[in-house]
Amino acid sequence: MTTKNEEVAISVRDIHKNFVLPQNKNSSFKHVVVNIVKKNNIVTQKVLDGVSFDIHKGDFFGIIGRNGSGKSTILKLIAGVYSPNSGEIAINGGLTPFIELGVGFNPELSGRDNVFLNGALLGFNRKQMNAMYDEIVEFAELEPFMDQKIKNYSSGMQVRLAFSIAIKAENDILMFDEVLAVGDANFQEKCLNQFIKYKKEGKTIVLVTHDMGSIRRFCNRAALLDHGKLEYIGNPEGAINRYNELNQI
Protein backbone atom coordinates (compact mmCIF):
# COMPACT_ATOMS: atom_id res chain seq x y z
CA MET A 1 0.00 0.00 0.00
CA THR A 2 2.80 2.40 -0.80
CA THR A 3 1.59 5.46 -2.61
CA LYS A 4 4.37 5.97 -5.08
CA ASN A 5 4.52 9.66 -5.54
CA GLU A 6 8.04 10.94 -5.71
CA GLU A 7 7.26 14.62 -5.29
CA VAL A 8 8.90 15.68 -2.05
CA ALA A 9 6.77 17.49 0.54
CA ILE A 10 9.34 17.86 3.32
CA SER A 11 13.04 17.46 2.80
CA VAL A 12 15.31 17.24 5.84
CA ARG A 13 19.02 17.49 5.03
CA ASP A 14 21.79 16.72 7.51
CA ILE A 15 20.18 18.44 10.47
CA HIS A 16 22.26 19.03 13.58
CA LYS A 17 20.70 20.48 16.68
CA ASN A 18 22.37 21.16 20.02
CA PHE A 19 20.80 22.51 23.15
CA VAL A 20 22.67 24.47 25.76
CA LEU A 21 21.89 22.71 29.00
CA PRO A 22 19.71 24.91 31.19
CA GLN A 23 21.81 24.92 34.34
CA ASN A 24 24.65 26.53 32.44
CA LYS A 25 22.56 29.12 30.71
CA ASN A 26 23.41 32.72 31.53
CA SER A 27 20.12 33.93 32.85
CA SER A 28 21.42 36.95 34.74
CA PHE A 29 24.33 39.31 34.47
CA LYS A 30 25.80 37.74 37.57
CA HIS A 31 25.99 34.38 35.85
CA VAL A 32 27.57 35.94 32.81
CA VAL A 33 30.28 37.51 34.93
CA VAL A 34 30.80 34.35 36.94
CA ASN A 35 31.04 32.30 33.79
CA ILE A 36 33.53 34.64 32.17
CA VAL A 37 35.70 34.59 35.28
CA LYS A 38 35.48 30.84 35.74
CA LYS A 39 35.81 30.23 32.01
CA ASN A 40 33.10 27.63 32.24
CA ASN A 41 32.72 25.55 29.17
CA ILE A 42 29.19 25.63 27.96
CA VAL A 43 27.72 22.16 28.19
CA THR A 44 25.68 21.30 25.15
CA GLN A 45 23.57 18.31 24.41
CA LYS A 46 23.43 16.88 20.92
CA VAL A 47 19.77 16.24 20.26
CA LEU A 48 19.97 15.64 16.54
CA ASP A 49 23.16 14.52 14.90
CA GLY A 50 23.02 14.60 11.12
CA VAL A 51 19.49 13.52 10.34
CA SER A 52 18.33 13.42 6.70
CA PHE A 53 15.13 12.09 5.15
CA ASP A 54 12.42 12.97 2.66
CA ILE A 55 8.70 12.87 3.16
CA HIS A 56 6.81 12.54 -0.11
CA LYS A 57 3.54 14.12 -1.06
CA GLY A 58 0.68 11.93 0.05
CA ASP A 59 2.76 10.06 2.60
CA PHE A 60 1.33 9.16 5.97
CA PHE A 61 4.66 9.33 7.68
CA GLY A 62 5.26 8.06 11.21
CA ILE A 63 8.14 9.11 13.43
CA ILE A 64 8.88 6.83 16.37
CA GLY A 65 11.64 6.54 18.91
CA ARG A 66 12.25 6.19 22.59
CA ASN A 67 12.01 9.15 24.97
CA GLY A 68 14.75 11.65 24.27
CA SER A 69 15.50 10.28 20.83
CA GLY A 70 14.87 13.68 19.23
CA LYS A 71 11.53 13.05 17.54
CA SER A 72 9.74 16.04 19.02
CA THR A 73 12.76 18.20 18.27
CA ILE A 74 12.72 17.25 14.60
CA LEU A 75 9.03 18.11 14.53
CA LYS A 76 9.68 21.51 16.06
CA LEU A 77 12.46 22.12 13.56
CA ILE A 78 10.17 21.26 10.66
CA ALA A 79 7.49 23.47 12.21
CA GLY A 80 9.95 26.37 12.31
CA VAL A 81 9.76 26.75 16.08
CA TYR A 82 13.44 25.87 16.48
CA SER A 83 16.15 26.66 14.02
CA PRO A 84 18.86 24.06 13.32
CA ASN A 85 22.54 24.56 14.14
CA SER A 86 23.32 23.29 10.68
CA GLY A 87 21.52 21.56 7.86
CA GLU A 88 18.49 22.47 5.84
CA ILE A 89 14.78 21.84 5.88
CA ALA A 90 12.71 22.57 2.80
CA ILE A 91 8.94 22.44 2.80
CA ASN A 92 7.05 22.20 -0.44
CA GLY A 93 3.51 23.35 0.22
CA GLY A 94 1.53 24.75 3.12
CA LEU A 95 2.26 23.21 6.49
CA THR A 96 0.21 23.29 9.68
CA PRO A 97 1.94 21.78 12.68
CA PHE A 98 0.16 20.66 15.84
CA ILE A 99 2.84 20.39 18.46
CA GLU A 100 0.03 20.56 20.94
CA LEU A 101 -3.68 20.99 20.52
CA GLY A 102 -5.15 24.26 21.67
CA VAL A 103 -1.96 26.30 21.59
CA GLY A 104 -2.68 29.83 22.68
CA PHE A 105 -5.91 28.95 24.46
CA ASN A 106 -6.41 31.57 27.11
CA PRO A 107 -8.02 30.15 30.28
CA GLU A 108 -9.65 33.48 31.11
CA LEU A 109 -11.48 33.73 27.81
CA SER A 110 -14.76 32.07 26.92
CA GLY A 111 -14.83 29.03 24.69
CA ARG A 112 -16.20 31.21 21.93
CA ASP A 113 -13.40 33.78 22.14
CA ASN A 114 -10.83 31.02 22.24
CA VAL A 115 -12.17 29.55 19.02
CA PHE A 116 -11.47 32.85 17.27
CA LEU A 117 -8.07 33.27 18.91
CA ASN A 118 -6.97 29.75 18.05
CA GLY A 119 -8.39 30.09 14.56
CA ALA A 120 -6.31 33.22 13.96
CA LEU A 121 -3.18 31.30 14.89
CA LEU A 122 -4.14 28.75 12.25
CA GLY A 123 -4.42 31.52 9.69
CA PHE A 124 -8.14 32.29 9.64
CA ASN A 125 -9.57 35.77 9.96
CA ARG A 126 -12.76 36.61 11.86
CA LYS A 127 -14.94 36.38 8.80
CA GLN A 128 -13.74 32.89 7.95
CA MET A 129 -14.07 31.84 11.58
CA ASN A 130 -17.62 33.17 11.77
CA ALA A 131 -18.51 30.99 8.80
CA MET A 132 -17.00 27.90 10.44
CA TYR A 133 -18.00 28.59 14.02
CA ASP A 134 -21.22 26.59 14.18
CA GLU A 135 -19.60 23.56 12.58
CA ILE A 136 -16.73 23.67 15.05
CA VAL A 137 -19.05 23.86 18.05
CA GLU A 138 -21.23 21.10 16.73
CA PHE A 139 -18.28 18.81 16.09
CA ALA A 140 -16.93 19.48 19.59
CA GLU A 141 -20.38 18.85 21.09
CA LEU A 142 -19.89 21.79 23.42
CA GLU A 143 -22.71 24.09 22.44
CA PRO A 144 -24.03 24.79 25.97
CA PHE A 145 -20.56 25.69 27.23
CA MET A 146 -19.30 28.16 24.65
CA ASP A 147 -19.89 31.24 26.80
CA GLN A 148 -18.11 29.79 29.79
CA LYS A 149 -14.49 30.48 30.49
CA ILE A 150 -12.26 27.76 29.22
CA LYS A 151 -10.56 27.40 32.60
CA ASN A 152 -13.80 25.80 33.78
CA TYR A 153 -13.68 23.19 31.03
CA SER A 154 -12.45 19.71 31.78
CA SER A 155 -9.25 18.82 29.97
CA GLY A 156 -11.23 16.50 27.73
CA MET A 157 -13.54 19.34 26.72
CA GLN A 158 -10.58 21.58 25.95
CA VAL A 159 -9.00 18.97 23.74
CA ARG A 160 -12.27 18.35 21.94
CA LEU A 161 -12.65 22.03 21.20
CA ALA A 162 -9.03 22.34 20.10
CA PHE A 163 -9.29 19.32 17.84
CA SER A 164 -12.49 20.60 16.26
CA ILE A 165 -10.69 23.81 15.31
CA ALA A 166 -7.55 21.98 14.24
CA ILE A 167 -9.32 19.86 11.64
CA LYS A 168 -10.37 23.06 9.87
CA ALA A 169 -6.76 23.67 8.88
CA GLU A 170 -6.70 23.61 5.12
CA ASN A 171 -3.02 23.09 4.43
CA ASP A 172 -1.92 20.01 2.52
CA ILE A 173 0.80 19.01 5.00
CA LEU A 174 -0.20 18.41 8.62
CA MET A 175 1.96 17.33 11.54
CA PHE A 176 0.76 15.92 14.84
CA ASP A 177 2.74 15.29 18.00
CA GLU A 178 1.14 12.71 20.27
CA VAL A 179 -2.42 13.91 19.78
CA LEU A 180 -3.73 10.44 20.34
CA ALA A 181 -2.27 10.35 23.81
CA VAL A 182 -4.99 12.66 25.08
CA GLY A 183 -8.72 12.28 25.25
CA ASP A 184 -11.05 9.39 25.89
CA ALA A 185 -11.96 6.51 23.61
CA ASN A 186 -14.67 8.53 21.93
CA PHE A 187 -12.22 11.31 21.13
CA GLN A 188 -9.60 8.91 19.87
CA GLU A 189 -12.19 7.39 17.58
CA LYS A 190 -12.83 10.86 16.17
CA CYS A 191 -9.12 11.39 15.63
CA LEU A 192 -8.82 8.10 13.82
CA ASN A 193 -11.78 8.89 11.58
CA GLN A 194 -10.20 12.20 10.77
CA PHE A 195 -6.94 10.48 9.84
CA ILE A 196 -8.82 8.16 7.52
CA LYS A 197 -10.42 11.20 5.90
CA TYR A 198 -7.03 12.90 5.47
CA LYS A 199 -5.68 9.76 3.83
CA LYS A 200 -8.54 9.70 1.36
CA GLU A 201 -7.97 13.35 0.54
CA GLY A 202 -4.32 12.59 -0.21
CA LYS A 203 -2.92 14.96 2.39
CA THR A 204 0.61 14.58 3.64
CA ILE A 205 0.56 13.68 7.33
CA VAL A 206 3.45 13.46 9.76
CA LEU A 207 2.63 11.68 12.99
CA VAL A 208 4.91 11.48 16.01
CA THR A 209 3.65 8.85 18.42
CA HIS A 210 4.38 6.02 20.81
CA ASP A 211 1.30 4.19 19.68
CA MET A 212 2.53 1.46 17.35
CA GLY A 213 -1.07 0.51 16.59
CA SER A 214 -1.76 3.76 14.78
CA ILE A 215 1.60 3.56 12.99
CA ARG A 216 0.62 0.14 11.65
CA ARG A 217 -2.88 1.23 10.80
CA PHE A 218 -2.18 4.49 8.97
CA CYS A 219 1.41 4.95 7.98
CA ASN A 220 2.88 3.90 4.68
CA ARG A 221 6.37 4.94 5.79
CA ALA A 222 8.00 5.42 9.12
CA ALA A 223 11.27 6.66 10.57
CA LEU A 224 12.89 5.48 13.76
CA LEU A 225 15.12 7.91 15.63
CA ASP A 226 17.57 6.85 18.28
CA HIS A 227 20.05 9.05 20.13
CA GLY A 228 19.59 11.80 17.59
CA LYS A 229 20.32 9.64 14.59
CA LEU A 230 18.12 8.09 11.98
CA GLU A 231 18.11 4.43 12.91
CA TYR A 232 15.69 3.18 10.30
CA ILE A 233 13.50 4.54 7.54
CA GLY A 234 11.14 2.54 5.38
CA ASN A 235 8.07 0.46 5.87
CA PRO A 236 6.32 0.79 9.24
CA GLU A 237 6.63 -2.88 10.18
CA GLY A 238 10.41 -2.70 9.81
CA ALA A 239 10.57 0.45 11.95
CA ILE A 240 8.46 -1.13 14.67
CA ASN A 241 10.55 -4.33 14.70
CA ARG A 242 13.76 -2.32 15.01
CA TYR A 243 12.15 -0.21 17.75
CA ASN A 244 11.24 -3.33 19.73
CA GLU A 245 14.79 -4.64 19.32
CA LEU A 246 16.17 -1.38 20.73
CA ASN A 247 13.90 -1.64 23.73
CA GLN A 248 15.17 -5.12 24.52
CA ILE A 249 18.82 -4.16 24.61
Binding site: S28, A79, E108, L117, L121, R126
Partner: protein, 263 residues
Protein backbone atom coordinates in the same frame (compact mmCIF):
# COMPACT_ATOMS: atom_id res chain seq x y z
CA UNK B 1 3.61 44.73 3.27
CA UNK B 2 5.25 41.39 3.83
CA UNK B 3 5.28 41.84 7.60
CA UNK B 4 1.63 42.65 8.09
CA UNK B 5 -0.04 40.35 5.59
CA UNK B 6 -3.70 39.43 6.20
CA UNK B 7 -2.74 36.37 8.21
CA UNK B 8 -0.53 38.30 10.58
CA UNK B 9 -3.12 41.05 10.85
CA UNK B 10 -5.70 38.48 11.96
CA UNK B 11 -3.35 37.16 14.63
CA UNK B 12 -2.51 40.68 15.77
CA UNK B 13 -6.12 41.72 16.06
CA UNK B 14 -7.03 38.61 18.07
CA UNK B 15 -4.09 39.15 20.42
CA UNK B 16 -4.99 42.78 21.05
CA UNK B 17 -8.63 41.83 21.57
CA UNK B 18 -7.60 39.16 24.07
CA UNK B 19 -5.39 41.57 26.02
CA UNK B 20 -8.19 44.06 26.19
CA UNK B 21 -10.77 41.52 27.29
CA UNK B 22 -8.51 40.04 29.94
CA UNK B 23 -7.38 43.33 31.42
CA UNK B 24 -10.58 44.40 33.15
CA UNK B 25 -12.02 40.99 33.78
CA UNK B 26 -13.66 40.36 37.11
CA UNK B 27 -13.91 44.09 37.76
CA UNK B 28 -17.37 45.51 38.27
CA UNK B 29 -16.85 48.63 36.17
CA UNK B 30 -14.91 46.81 33.46
CA UNK B 31 -13.93 48.88 30.44
CA UNK B 32 -15.04 52.03 32.23
CA UNK B 33 -11.74 51.86 34.09
CA UNK B 34 -9.86 52.82 30.94
CA UNK B 35 -11.54 56.23 31.34
CA UNK B 36 -11.77 56.33 35.12
CA UNK B 37 -8.09 55.61 35.70
CA UNK B 38 -6.76 58.64 33.84
CA UNK B 39 -9.57 60.75 35.26
CA UNK B 40 -8.60 60.02 38.86
CA UNK B 41 -4.92 60.36 38.09
CA UNK B 42 -5.63 63.78 36.62
CA UNK B 43 -7.60 64.90 39.62
CA UNK B 44 -4.77 63.98 41.94
CA UNK B 45 -2.15 65.69 39.80
CA UNK B 46 -4.37 68.71 39.43
CA UNK B 47 -4.75 69.16 43.16
CA UNK B 48 -1.09 68.49 43.94
CA UNK B 49 0.44 70.69 41.29
CA UNK B 50 -1.92 73.64 41.40
CA UNK B 51 -2.55 73.96 45.15
CA UNK B 52 0.31 72.22 46.95
CA UNK B 53 3.38 72.48 44.72
CA UNK B 54 2.62 75.13 42.14
CA UNK B 55 5.40 74.05 39.77
CA UNK B 56 3.66 75.47 36.79
CA UNK B 57 3.13 79.03 37.92
CA UNK B 58 3.08 81.29 34.94
CA UNK B 59 2.43 78.51 32.45
CA UNK B 60 -0.76 78.94 30.54
CA UNK B 61 -3.28 76.14 31.24
CA UNK B 62 -0.73 74.28 33.37
CA UNK B 63 -3.14 71.52 34.50
CA UNK B 64 -3.83 70.47 30.91
CA UNK B 65 -0.16 70.97 30.05
CA UNK B 66 0.72 68.60 32.88
CA UNK B 67 -1.91 65.99 32.07
CA UNK B 68 -0.94 65.78 28.44
CA UNK B 69 2.68 65.19 29.41
CA UNK B 70 1.75 62.53 31.94
CA UNK B 71 -0.48 60.70 29.49
CA UNK B 72 2.19 60.54 26.79
CA UNK B 73 4.84 59.56 29.29
CA UNK B 74 2.61 56.83 30.75
CA UNK B 75 2.08 55.38 27.30
CA UNK B 76 5.82 55.10 26.82
CA UNK B 77 6.27 53.46 30.24
CA UNK B 78 3.38 51.07 29.77
CA UNK B 79 4.24 49.94 26.27
CA UNK B 80 7.96 49.45 26.96
CA UNK B 81 7.43 47.71 30.30
CA UNK B 82 4.82 45.30 28.97
CA UNK B 83 6.70 45.08 25.68
CA UNK B 84 9.91 44.07 27.45
CA UNK B 85 8.19 41.10 29.04
CA UNK B 86 5.98 40.25 26.08
CA UNK B 87 8.11 37.54 24.46
CA UNK B 88 8.63 35.71 27.74
CA UNK B 89 4.98 36.15 28.73
CA UNK B 90 3.89 34.53 25.49
CA UNK B 91 6.53 31.80 25.87
CA UNK B 92 3.93 29.08 25.70
CA UNK B 93 2.93 30.22 22.23
CA UNK B 94 6.46 30.76 21.03
CA UNK B 95 7.56 27.30 22.08
CA UNK B 96 4.77 25.66 20.15
CA UNK B 97 4.01 27.53 16.97
CA UNK B 98 6.04 29.49 14.50
CA UNK B 99 4.03 32.69 14.25
CA UNK B 100 6.27 35.68 13.55
CA UNK B 101 7.75 36.62 16.92
CA UNK B 102 7.47 40.36 16.37
CA UNK B 103 3.66 40.08 16.46
CA UNK B 104 3.85 39.44 20.19
CA UNK B 105 5.71 42.72 20.78
CA UNK B 106 3.57 44.74 18.40
CA UNK B 107 0.36 43.46 19.99
CA UNK B 108 1.47 44.60 23.45
CA UNK B 109 2.27 48.07 22.06
CA UNK B 110 -1.14 48.24 20.43
CA UNK B 111 -2.82 47.42 23.72
CA UNK B 112 -1.02 50.36 25.30
CA UNK B 113 -2.03 52.50 22.33
CA UNK B 114 -5.70 51.79 22.99
CA UNK B 115 -5.26 53.01 26.55
CA UNK B 116 -3.52 56.13 25.26
CA UNK B 117 -6.48 56.84 23.00
CA UNK B 118 -8.90 56.69 25.95
CA UNK B 119 -6.66 58.88 28.08
CA UNK B 120 -6.36 61.44 25.30
CA UNK B 121 -10.12 61.66 25.07
CA UNK B 122 -10.14 62.59 28.74
CA UNK B 123 -7.34 65.13 28.15
CA UNK B 124 -9.31 66.78 25.37
CA UNK B 125 -12.37 67.02 27.58
CA UNK B 126 -10.21 68.58 30.29
CA UNK B 127 -8.76 70.99 27.75
CA UNK B 128 -12.22 72.15 26.71
CA UNK B 129 -13.23 72.62 30.34
CA UNK B 130 -10.13 74.71 30.90
CA UNK B 131 -11.23 77.03 28.15
CA UNK B 132 -8.83 75.94 25.44
CA UNK B 133 -10.35 76.49 22.02
CA UNK B 134 -10.11 73.47 19.74
CA UNK B 135 -8.04 74.26 16.69
CA UNK B 136 -6.65 72.56 13.64
CA UNK B 137 -3.26 72.32 15.32
CA UNK B 138 -4.75 69.59 17.55
CA UNK B 139 -4.43 67.29 14.56
CA UNK B 140 -0.67 67.40 15.00
CA UNK B 141 -1.17 64.92 17.82
CA UNK B 142 -1.55 62.14 15.24
CA UNK B 143 1.94 62.30 13.69
CA UNK B 144 3.34 62.78 17.19
CA UNK B 145 1.62 59.59 18.38
CA UNK B 146 3.02 57.74 15.38
CA UNK B 147 6.47 58.99 16.33
CA UNK B 148 6.00 58.01 19.98
CA UNK B 149 4.65 54.59 19.02
CA UNK B 150 7.61 53.96 16.73
CA UNK B 151 10.08 54.91 19.46
CA UNK B 152 8.33 52.73 22.07
CA UNK B 153 8.23 49.83 19.62
CA UNK B 154 11.95 50.11 18.82
CA UNK B 155 12.80 50.10 22.53
CA UNK B 156 10.40 47.19 23.17
CA UNK B 157 11.99 45.09 20.42
CA UNK B 158 15.41 45.49 21.95
CA UNK B 159 14.28 44.98 25.55
CA UNK B 160 12.05 41.99 24.87
CA UNK B 161 14.82 40.09 23.07
CA UNK B 162 17.31 40.98 25.80
CA UNK B 163 14.85 39.93 28.51
CA UNK B 164 14.75 36.39 27.13
CA UNK B 165 18.42 36.03 28.03
CA UNK B 166 18.76 38.35 31.00
CA UNK B 167 15.85 38.69 33.37
CA UNK B 168 17.66 41.58 35.06
CA UNK B 169 16.51 43.75 32.19
CA UNK B 170 13.14 44.45 33.76
CA UNK B 171 14.72 45.84 36.95
CA UNK B 172 17.26 47.91 35.09
CA UNK B 173 14.58 49.30 32.84
CA UNK B 174 12.43 50.25 35.84
CA UNK B 175 15.32 52.28 37.22
CA UNK B 176 16.05 53.91 33.87
CA UNK B 177 12.37 54.83 33.57
CA UNK B 178 12.51 56.49 36.98
CA UNK B 179 15.54 58.50 35.92
CA UNK B 180 13.94 59.28 32.59
CA UNK B 181 10.89 60.69 34.31
CA UNK B 182 13.01 63.49 35.74
CA UNK B 183 15.11 63.89 32.61
CA UNK B 184 11.94 64.54 30.61
CA UNK B 185 9.80 67.63 31.10
CA UNK B 186 6.74 65.72 32.33
CA UNK B 187 5.83 67.51 35.55
CA UNK B 188 8.04 70.57 35.31
CA UNK B 189 7.71 73.12 32.54
CA UNK B 190 10.74 73.04 30.28
CA UNK B 191 10.85 76.82 30.39
CA UNK B 192 12.03 76.54 34.02
CA UNK B 193 15.14 74.62 32.92
CA UNK B 194 18.30 76.78 32.62
CA UNK B 195 18.66 77.77 28.99
CA UNK B 196 22.07 76.18 28.55
CA UNK B 197 20.67 72.75 29.55
CA UNK B 198 17.43 73.05 27.67
CA UNK B 199 18.83 71.93 24.33
CA UNK B 200 20.35 68.80 25.86
CA UNK B 201 16.96 67.71 27.17
CA UNK B 202 15.86 67.48 23.56
CA UNK B 203 18.30 64.68 22.77
CA UNK B 204 15.57 62.63 24.40
CA UNK B 205 12.84 62.12 21.79
CA UNK B 206 10.22 62.05 24.55
CA UNK B 207 10.99 65.67 25.44
CA UNK B 208 10.54 66.71 21.84
CA UNK B 209 7.29 64.76 21.49
CA UNK B 210 5.75 65.97 24.74
CA UNK B 211 6.69 69.61 24.11
CA UNK B 212 5.44 69.49 20.53
CA UNK B 213 2.17 67.98 21.70
CA UNK B 214 1.79 70.74 24.31
CA UNK B 215 2.53 73.32 21.64
CA UNK B 216 -0.14 71.84 19.39
CA UNK B 217 -2.85 71.46 22.01
CA UNK B 218 -2.22 73.58 25.07
CA UNK B 219 -0.11 76.64 24.44
CA UNK B 220 2.14 77.98 21.67
CA UNK B 221 4.54 79.15 24.39
CA UNK B 222 5.36 75.59 25.53
CA UNK B 223 8.96 75.75 24.30
CA UNK B 224 9.78 73.22 21.62
CA UNK B 225 12.92 71.89 20.04
CA UNK B 226 12.13 74.07 17.04
CA UNK B 227 12.26 77.23 19.13
CA UNK B 228 15.35 76.13 21.08
CA UNK B 229 17.73 74.51 18.63
CA UNK B 230 18.52 76.37 15.43
CA UNK B 231 20.90 74.04 13.66
CA UNK B 232 20.97 70.63 12.04
CA UNK B 233 20.85 69.20 15.57
CA UNK B 234 17.17 69.87 15.54
CA UNK B 235 16.96 66.43 13.90
CA UNK B 236 18.64 64.67 16.85
CA UNK B 237 15.49 63.10 18.39
CA UNK B 238 14.45 61.74 15.01
CA UNK B 239 17.87 60.24 14.42
CA UNK B 240 17.69 58.69 17.90
CA UNK B 241 14.33 57.11 17.07
CA UNK B 242 15.44 55.79 13.70
CA UNK B 243 18.60 54.30 15.20
CA UNK B 244 16.56 52.73 18.03
CA UNK B 245 14.22 51.07 15.54
CA UNK B 246 17.03 49.81 13.32
CA UNK B 247 19.15 48.57 16.19
CA UNK B 248 16.22 47.15 18.19
CA UNK B 249 14.71 45.50 15.14
CA UNK B 250 17.99 43.94 14.06
CA UNK B 251 18.78 42.67 17.54
CA UNK B 252 15.30 41.19 17.81
CA UNK B 253 15.50 39.56 14.40
CA UNK B 254 18.90 38.06 15.10
CA UNK B 255 17.78 36.56 18.41
CA UNK B 256 14.20 35.65 17.62
CA UNK B 257 15.08 32.36 15.94
CA UNK B 258 16.36 31.08 19.27
CA UNK B 259 13.48 32.34 21.43
CA UNK B 260 11.73 28.97 21.55
CA UNK B 261 14.66 27.25 23.22
CA UNK B 262 15.97 30.20 25.26
CA UNK B 263 12.77 31.06 27.09
Amino acid sequence: MRYLNPRNRAILSEMVRTDFKIRYQNSVLGYLWTLLKPLFLFTILYVVFTYIIPLGKGVEHYPVYLLLGVVLWNFFVESTTIGAGSVVAKGDLIRKISIPRYLVVISSSFSALINLAFSLVVVFIFALFNGIEPSLSWLLIFPLIVELFAFALGVSFYLSALFVKFRDVSYIWEILIQAGFYATPVIYPITKVPVKFEKYLFINPLSQIIQDARYAIVTPTSGTIWSTVHSIFVLTPFVVIILTIIFGGMYFKKNSKNFAEDI
